[in-house]
Symmetry: C2
Subunit: 360 residues, 2 copies
Amino acid sequence: MAESRLTGSVRVVGAGLLGTSIGLGLRARGVDVIVADASPTHVSIAVDYGAGRAAAATDEPQLIVVCVPPDVTARVVAAELEAFPHAVVTDVASVKLSVLHELRASGADVSRYVGTHPMAGRERGGPLQGRADLFLGRPWVVAAHDGISYQRGSVIDDLILDLGATLVEMTPEAHDSSVALISHVPQVVATLMARRLTDAPGAAVNLAGQGLRDVTRIAAGDPGLWVQILGANAQPVVGILKQFRHDLDHVIDALDAPEAVGNRRRLAEELLGGNVGVARIPGKHGQDTRYTQIVVMVDDRPGELARLMGDVGEAGVNLEDLRLEHSPGAQIGLAEIAVLPEAAGGLVDWLAARGWRIAG
Amino acid sequence: MAESRLTGSVRVVGAGLLGTSIGLGLRARGVDVIVADASPTHVSIAVDYGAGRAAAATDEPQLIVVCVPPDVTARVVAAELEAFPHAVVTDVASVKLSVLHELRASGADVSRYVGTHPMAGRERGGPLQGRADLFLGRPWVVAAHDGISYQRGSVIDDLILDLGATLVEMTPEAHDSSVALISHVPQVVATLMARRLTDAPGAAVNLAGQGLRDVTRIAAGDPGLWVQILGANAQPVVGILKQFRHDLDHVIDALDAPEAVGNRRRLAEELLGGNVGVARIPGKHGQDTRYTQIVVMVDDRPGELARLMGDVGEAGVNLEDLRLEHSPGAQIGLAEIAVLPEAAGGLVDWLAARGWRIAG
């Protein structure tokens, strides 16, 4: 067990997915975690799950992490600042500026508060979805403001580093406009696309493939939560939605007269813009252009993939990504291996010499 | 090798992803496949790849499958009908009504033509992406019209069934409005979302996670091809885009005044509509519920994944799916292993006993 940077107790308020995951992650490093929730049932589930212990009258937490829905975040943060006058308090809500404004307006002691936002989650919520490694390698935004001292704020850094996340500092304004773009507007767009399916003929919906599934997947999110998030970040979201509508109007105009001079070129420009935009998203994504893909055919029986991985390992090549594609009923799977470009040629020869069929 | 339903030769015109996959699938059932393409290089790649043989002067194909871009499909179909007066001709373009109209207008013999559309594809095109099992279990639409006899049309059924696809009959009109909804409009929506990223600050884009990746994935598609598809199916696409814009206006109005009476309820209704729509999409959704997921932590160095696969293989358990998740900068990868539910418990114990850390 690696030693923790945090030295005192951490009180987690709200035992949902994020609260439970924070508790599990900190417990794994030996931190004393106190779990609090308006629901005693949630507390006992989280405690049974290993996310911490129930609160006691003598608790003197060093740090309090508020993990409740956005609508009540400021109120709960203010109450915690009041109840624990020596603790630093943070929250993990997906909007940051409105919470800070509300706290300042209520006269709360923001010299002990910094808002944060871990960029991690799962489609389903609740304590039982919690995972100690939920934040591993994910960005965790600290929405810094100038009302808290560097020394006090450093306990937040300890929390983030103890959980294996990557600390990203931003103003609350920059955070809110960033998540509007990369999270809140995509949520609206996926929702509006999915809405078009509600009264579509079954024969049409039955033709759907992975493309439609991917575009609409996040539209399955909790409406109650998303109303709060969109409402609390309305201004940046609506600004981007209006730019989206401007482009949409262009496409509609072009398709209203597809044969008119210049309209195909306008369409092509929109589509090219989409190519450029999607290429800016970091990390792997179907294919990561930093790596070369090698596709190897693998028989569908135990041990075959192990033999392939063994041969790759013996070649001394590190796998950057690996995906097994397997059509239902097919006797052959395709292992898609991503490696550094300089390693690809040698690896293909090495594998071919060992009898592997390279598919492309 | 299962016996084929097709009894004569099949001529495939256009050796891209679909043409090559059709050739590979039919060759696997012993059908004589002739590969033709405007590019001699493409023909020789497809032939080397096992998708069929080059054309000969004595060819008398029973069936011709035209697999060329939508813009030139009708012209190539007409030329094939003319060149082979005893063959039935089909095409696989993603729009059906415009091709039929163009053929009728040109005076082509549509008593030997039916258009079809296999609902299968990959992000990347070209002959080397071809796969014999590309159509396995996927819907394949036959866009029936009353100008061809039942007897003649049945060879199309044989093609589809020989390739393991599921035959779906629709009018060309119903096909075009269906694919507008489940394929063409999602392409526009993903494109317009991805466009918003083109001039976004890097700090914002760097926070992106799987949600944005999924919503925008298909925006990486080929603009040249999509201009043709959207142009050829403009009317149904623009109809749905206008309904989408109507809903978008609602959301924008609500977010312009998020505190106004009734606006949160309007937002919630849009979001709920998205929940209902996404639930109508058939098939698996992220996780395949037939399998149990096991997540194993794997150190990021050569050979580790091989060692894991070796241990899984020794357990005698077959992997149904495998995915490596690896955040940029993290020293740990997460191998997500899907196995049959009855094998999961034993495998977790087996792996834990060999020192693997199971993450969830």
